[in-house]
């Protein structure tokens, strides 16, 4: 039986952690993820978990300690945001290439500068090539559900990769909303025990982790890691299928909303998808064939699935909540567009960078995007492929 409750995204994730009872939690605080280890510290203080809770001196060390613990044979977790994730950058790559299935909760927040504590994806997007699996949540429920699935995905034998469970800083992390929680025992049964084949503290044989790899091995090691990331796609769907059987809530790599006959579509991530759904509802009521694709899994990138979902559309806007500074669009657009390149028939596509550093994204903003797509369809003119939305601007508003 699910338990009806109301929690913030951070407390939902902390609750999932409590139910899973990981072996080691290495923490260093940073807004807006700080509440996660704070809630957890209280669980430790109250004897609700028997986790070894290490209060390290930096995020670089929190992930390093997780590496040591995970390699030693434990489930190790941590949480961070923004500069903390950036500070972990080096270790993210090492954890992934060492194939250690650490679970990292990220309350996504803008990177400096100027320094800003609010939400966008500049932190997690900057780590998109780190080798971590990345799953994003629209709300507290998804943050909780994604976390419950995380260990199993990461620990899948032919995957063995670390995973980021991302929620939108403040918007999700600090907003209290209704949530369906699952019983502790049901969660434990779903997640299961961690049984690595080899680990540092194994009695029967030693384990050596993290070698120097000469050129004669490096390429092969990287291909193996790339294949593991490809395997993660199947693992995510398998775990989601079992999650649906067990708890009744359904997840995929992407969520298609009103896409069956959509002519105009937005591709976006996280809480903005929920806001945009309200715009779709309004437009549908007016007879506009609007739809949206919410990208739940960003790594591995569900390129074929997205391309398939939007292939029949006339115009598509990709909404990027991070500035990649490529000079020609954000990362979600670059990858979405590249995956459409071989479609027989493909929609006109534009990229809109929005919502940086907590700049609000409203239903009206979403409607403006659909109006722009209508104009593209009507005129056949795409206009600027890459633009920003929501900023004060001396130029004529391209939206």
């Amino acid at each position: 039986m699910s338990i009806r409750d109301r929690l913030s995204g951070n407390e939902a994730i902390a609750t999932a952690m409590r139910q899973i009872n990981p072996d080691v939690f290495a923490m260093f605080p940073i807004t807006p993820s700080t509440e996660i280890p704070q809630y957890f510290a209280q669980y430790v203080a109250d004897g609700k978990v028997d986790t070894e809770f290490i209060t390290v001196e930096s995020e670089h060390s929190s992930l390093s300690a997780c590496m040591g613990a995970e390699a030693a044979g434990c489930r190790a977790v941590t949480a961070t945001s923004s500069a903390g994730l950036a500070y972990m950058n080096e270790v993210l790559y090492v954890a992934a290439s060492s194939r250690l299935p650490i679970v990292l909760a990220v309350s996504c927040r803008a990177l400096t500068g100027p320094i800003n504590i609010n939400h966008d994806y500049s932190d997690s997007m900057a780590e998109r090539d780190s080798g971590f699996i990345q799953i994003y949540a629209e709300n507290n429920q998804e943050a909780y559900d994604n976390y419950l699935q995380a260990h199993r995905i990461a620990e899948t034998a032919d995957v063995r990769l670390p995973i980021m469970i991302c929620e939108d800083g403040f918007i999700t992390s600090h907003a209290i909303e209704n949530i369906e929680l699952e019983e502790d025992d049901a969660v434990k049964a779903f997640v299961g025990e961690y049984k690595p084949e080899h680990y540092l503290l194994k009695e029967e044989n030693p384990l050596a982790v993290g070698p120097y790899g000469v050129s004669g091995y490096y390429m092969e090691a990287r291909v193996a890691q790339a294949e593991a990331m490809k395997n993660a796609k199947r693992a995510i769907l398998d775990v989601a299928a079992d999650f649906e059987r067990t708890f009744g809530r359904k997840y995929g790599l992407i969520e298609e909303y009103c896409m069956e006959d959509a002519e105009l579509a937005i591709v976006l991530m996280g809480s903005s998808a929920g806001t945009a759904k309200a715009a779709v509802n309004e437009l549908r009521a007016q007879g506009v064939k609007a739809g949206l694709v919410k990208v739940r899994v960003f790594r591995p990138f569900p390129g074929e699935e997205i391309a398939q979902a939007i292939s029949h559309c006339k115009a598509v806007a990709v909404l990027d909540k991070s500035e990649g500074f490529s000079g020609c669009g954000g990362p979600l657009f670059a990858e979405t567009a590249s995956m459409c390149i071989n479609l027989e028939k493909r929609p006109k596509m534009v990229d809109i960078v929005y919502g940086l550093g907590g700049r609000d994204f409203t239903v009206d903003h979403a409607k403006r995007v659909y109006r722009r797509l209508e104009k593209i369809v009507a005129t056949g003119e795409v206009g600027p492929i890459y633009s920003h939305m929501g900023q004060r601007d001396l130029r004529e508003d391209v939206q």
Binding site: R6, P32, I117, N118, E138, N139, D168, F170, I171, T172, H174, A175, I176, E177, N178, S271, S272, G274, T275, K277, A278, G358, D360, F361, T362, V363
Partner: protein
Amino acid sequence: MSEMIEIRWHGRGGQGAKTASQLLADAAFMSGKYVQSFPEYGPERSGAPITAYNRISEERCSIHSNIYEPDYVAVVDETLLDSVNVTAGLKAHGAVIINTEKNPEELRAKLHGYEGRICTIDARAISQKHLGAYFPNTPMLAAVVAVSKCVDPYEFLKDMETSYRHKFAKKPQVVEGNLKCLSEAMKGVKG
């Protein structure tokens, strides 16, 4: 979604506007509603003006933006009226609920031409009387419920009693004080 009620709270960092919005979400949650409670975050420290929000509805609300056209506005600290345009975007059918000892019409001049309903509640006096200290949140919460009817007032008092009895299991006198505080505030709204 027409039955969704959106509320905006204005307070000062450390005074508990965020907590008040959470308490309201709790109350609405207990009466079976779908709720959202979220503050607008910045690096503000104690004393700085802050904003918090509530959405209360019968179905889950997928919108995650701030609220620009609230149905109700709650002002926890009267002195904010000098610096913040608290009624900005407030819907015509709505109301602003202000913590003050003044009468509603005495404050209209400070509300930037706002023509709608003004409600006041002397949260300080009620709080001092029943709780022996200044905790504006409890009377404010009751006033917002009384004005907005975002939850059924009778159910609200019942749920709050259950909640207080659980929360203050070892301090029954605190339960009584809080309940009196709520019921007096519900009756004491002016305007």
